[in-house]
Amino acid sequence: MLYSEKVMDHFEHPRNVGEIANADGVGQVGNPKCGDIMKMYLKIDGDVITDVKFKTFGCGSAIATSSMATEMIKGKTIGEAMELTNAAVAEALDGLPGYKMHCSVLAEEAIKAALADYYKRQGKEVPDNLKLPCEDEEHGGCCSCGH
């Protein structure tokens, strides 16, 4: 099969879909040209991510990685969330086909973008490791498909 059972489970029954009305941090990455856009909403209480939601336009693995990533940071501290790597998300899904790994990169970046937004809203300086390689591009965010 194309995807692991875990991927299919998260794709067919994605966790934490939706928006958070009064989010403390919102980040969007991806590019419609590439067929993948992820938007993350964070509710943060003190140091802890108390709630997280996402909306994703993208393929099966884009939706599954969004879902898995939200599960992995919910209830975690900001520090822990900052540490989340795309490899960890992919691993938690029992792997992704090679040409779909960019989706897991997108999930990592969406979280970082939302955290960066949180820092900004708080008037704090954005930590270096939350800066995305091509932050100032239009449509907000990186595009691994080359556009």
Partner: protein, 399 residues
């Protein structure tokens, strides 16, 4: 519980028809003789192979000697392009110019790109918003060094039928060789190599109820391309390799069957297809890709803004509907289909494509089910899409 499977990807591949399978079966374990062998048992296989060739020829208004069996449409396409180039090289023209279109199957496009690396020049003609090539543009592109025009008879992604007979007349008038990739056309619309004035035509068995792994290249007499695959001298020395007799027999039986029922079956399919085209474009920001009037009878193709094709397919699969987004072959690529871009769709929209291609096994009930499920899935995905405005029912993007 999962709904029974509805196979709506007939442009991707088809089941072998019971008749075709029945025709093939004896050749695996009984009439398995090598057609190149001398004894009667082999000569019988040879004569059955020739029968199959004659059937194919009859179905397309050609002569049996004008058909060479290949391993499929892809090989036929590769052979047509490289073979013409080699033929010309033998005549002293070591380079030259080829005219094709931006919407060809990759079997043509990748071969054409390869030939560019070998020093050939290739013109990739644009198409209009419906995917039609302008015959006048073909004529305008012809140069003194043009060695070949290769234009598909019908597009595999959007179902658009090209004006092959008009282009054939132009090619003939300018004495330029003309190849058509008719893999999607043969068995689905009337194909007459003489009326079309084609010199070369590719077809593939599994697109019309024949087996996978067998196709054919038509070469109008007296045109004879050098072999792409050389060896024992089968197929009059032009395509070596022990003949796939069951494959050729199955292809011929399926083609005969398809041609016998072409008029009624294409009318039936067009009726079902039109229900899909109308029904699914009732969704907002949903549109048909390809031509409304010049369209393969079984192929309905769409784009739905704000959703992504793969996600759409996977959800449809979960509901038992087999469909495709762009060409089956390119599903592992990250770029949206070159065909959808060529008809002028922005990338973002092209990602949301869906092709439903119907065949003999599809019924009115299937269509009703599809008409219920596709909108449900599109709405569900749009709900979770950050680029869809639920209240305004339109995408948030400005493209």
């Amino acid at each position: 519980m999962k709904h029974k499977m509805i196979y709506a990807d007939h442009a991707g591949t088809t089941a072998v028809t019971p008749k075709a399978l029945e025709a093939m079966l004896p050749y695996f374990t009984q009439g398995y003789g090598n057609p190149s062998s001398l004894y009667a048992f082999g000569q019988q296989a040879k004569s059955d192979l020739e029968q199959a060739r004659a059937t194919v020829a009859r179905c397309l208004n050609a002569q049996p000697e004008e058909f060479y069996f290949t391993s499929g449409g892809t090989e036929a396409d590769n052979w047509a392009l490289r073979g013409v180039a080699e033929l010309m090289a033998l005549k002293g023209k070591k380079t030259g110019h080829i005219i094709t279109t931006a919407i060809e199957h990759h079997a043509i496009l990748h071969t054409a790109q390869w030939m560019e690396k070998q020093g050939y020049e290739v013109t990739y003609l644009p198409v209009d918003g419906e995917g039609r090539v302008d015959p006048a543009a073909v004529e305008a592109a012809i140069r003194p060094d043009t060695i070949l025009i290769s234009i598909m008879a019908a597009n595999n992604e959007i179902g658009t039928i090209e004006p092959i007979a008009e282009i054939g007349a132009i090619a003939k008038a300018h004495k330029v060789l003309f190849h058509t990739d008719a893999v999607q056309a043969v068995g689905h619309i009337p194909v007459d190599v003489q009326a079309w004035n084609v010199d070369l035509l590719s077809l593939s068995g599994h697109k019309f109820g024949g087996p996978k792994g067998v196709g054919a290249l038509y070469m109008k007499k007296p045109l004879r391309l050098p072999a792409l695959i050389q060896g024992g001298g089968q197929e009059k020395g032009r395509r070596s390799g022990t003949e796939n007799v069951p494959g050729a027999v199955g292809l011929a039986a399926a083609l005969q069957e398809a041609v016998d029922h072409l008029a009624e079956e294409s009318a039936r399919l067009a009726g079902l297809r039109d229900q899909l085209l109308e029904g699914l474009t009732k969704l907002p920001y949903a549109s048909v890709t390809g031509s409304r009037s010049q369209r393969l009878p079984g192929t309905a193709s769409f784009v739905f803004e704000g959703v992504e094709g793969e996600a759409l397919l996977l959800h449809l699969d979960a509901k038992g509907i087999c469909a495709s987004s762009g060409s089956a072959c390119s599903s592992a690529s990250l770029d949206p289909s070159h065909v959808l871009l060529a008809i002028g769709l922005p990338h973002a929209i092209a990602h949301g494509s869906l092709r439903l291609s119907l065949g003999p096994d599809n019924t009115q009930e299937d269509v009703a089910y599809i008409l219920k499920e596709v909108p449900a899935v599109v709405n569900y995905l749009r709900e979770m899409s950050p680029v869809w405005d639920k209240d305004a029912q339109k995408p948030t993007w400005v493209l």
